[in-house]
Amino acid sequence: MTDQVEEIEIQLLLEALYLRYHYDFRHYAATSIKRRLRLAREQMGFASISALQERLLHDETMLPRMLGYLTVQVSEMFRDPSYFKAIRETVIPHLRTYPSLKLWIAGCADGEELYSFVILFREEGLEERTIFYATDINQDALARARAGIYGLERIQLFTENHRKSGGKSSLSEYYSAGYGRAVFDKSLRERVLFADHSLVTDAVFAEMNLISCRNVLIYFNRALQDRAIGLFKDSLSRKGFLGLGAKENLRFCAHADAFSEFNREERLYQRRDG
């Protein structure tokens, strides 16, 4: 069985993190958190998780490093190309009927998903009527998203994904390459608002036509997932769309009835009327 002392240490550290810095990981999926905390302890060279907690409480420079361990920014542009293809082919025609649009990328990590959407909307001629909200709890990630700079070695995959998603332009139109980096064009950010927002502790901030929240809910326990989905429900306009990650679904969710399945395979849902 799991080491009981370690369980207690983990609980105490998460409580400390919450009380001291107001980051609430107490209801994240326990197994992942345990794994991340073990990694943090090992790599930062602490004898125990309690020792790590002690430092975290007294030294605020530890906070960003801790968040770097507790949150995971692994992402890709046009990750799961078929998801973006389905949005392009089946959601965009609905969105086209609105004079102005709001899109929320919740848990945007380093921005890959955000830029995918801005490019898609530009290709479809909807960028100019859209405001893009990109939110995350990790400040360092938000800064990287704002910068829009990715290692050149990742571009081949991004390009391939973009093509498979039904891209109508060449990805190379959107970045300039040099010194091993691809710097995405700042015009892509003109209609983007970046914000530090937590799906655990923060509230609704605008009425959205489309919310894409992918591979964030897997890190939450069921109760926390319900809270986040409730937030999405309250943030969506009538008939607004919600897109989740490839292995996430609303099957077990308390708010499932508020949504209809728009595309089961691609995890696209639509808010029901009224």
Partner: protein, 197 residues
């Protein structure tokens, strides 16, 4: 340590997996009482055909795991491509999009370590054919928690590196042949319950 009844089985396989699993999984009867979690290294493409393929060949129920999927006995769960599969509690699975481990996502180590935490001595773990070292660390965690560990005989493996690494990490692991795995698992499932004190 003597064999005691298990409440779950974890299996890891890589290069050559399909052939061995084809000898192991269809040989388990519909009445097999435990959940079986399987990580196979598959390319990160969206679709994996493993679950579909084995659903047709197996008597047990076969699923590709979804996030927070309830765990049911008599069911085989495959990790989906591009996600790690973890045992969250005895009632539910969890997925994660964390970095690959030893270039693999799903990684065998992550499944095994999480399952060892949850099931402790009531777990049976099995490392099959493969060309890397994933699974060795996980198998060690299962052994440390008091679980049953077994490794495919490297001589019978399509790729010997993975079972060899597992044996190096757990020299006392039981060595099994592909044809013998199903019988071994049924034997474990029939043992008297684990005394957890």
């Amino acid at each position: 340590m003597s064999a005691r009844r298990c409440r779950a089985v974890v299996i890891g396989a890589s290069a050559g997996a399909l052939e061995v699993l084809n000898q192991v999984l269809p040989a388990l009867p519909a009445s097999f009482p435990l959940p079986v979690f399987v990580v196979v290294h598959v390319p990160p493409d969206r679709k994996s055909l493993l679950a579909e393929l084995f659903a047709r060949r197996c008597e047990m129920r076969v699923r590709e795991a979804e996030d927070k999927e309830p765990i049911e006995p008599g069911t085989i769960y495959f990790a989906p491509p591009n996600y790690h599969m973890l045992v969250e509690t005895e009632q539910a699975l969890a997925l994660s999009a964390d970095e690959p481990v030893l270039y693999s996502r799903p990684a065998i180590d992550i499944l095994f370590e999480s399952a060892a935490d949850v099931y402790g001595p009531a777990l049976a773990a099995l490392v099959l054919t493969g060309a890397n070292e994933d699974g060795a660390r996980g198998l060690r965690a299962v052994e440390t928690a008091g679980g049953q560990v077994a490794v495919q005989d490297p001589k019978t493996a399509f790729a010997a590196a993975m079972p060899e690494a597992a044996l190096a990490a757990c020299p006392r692991a039981r060595i099994v042949t592909p044809g013998g795995v199903a019988a071994y698992l049924q034997e474990l499932a029939a043992m008297p319950p684990v005394d957890e004190n």
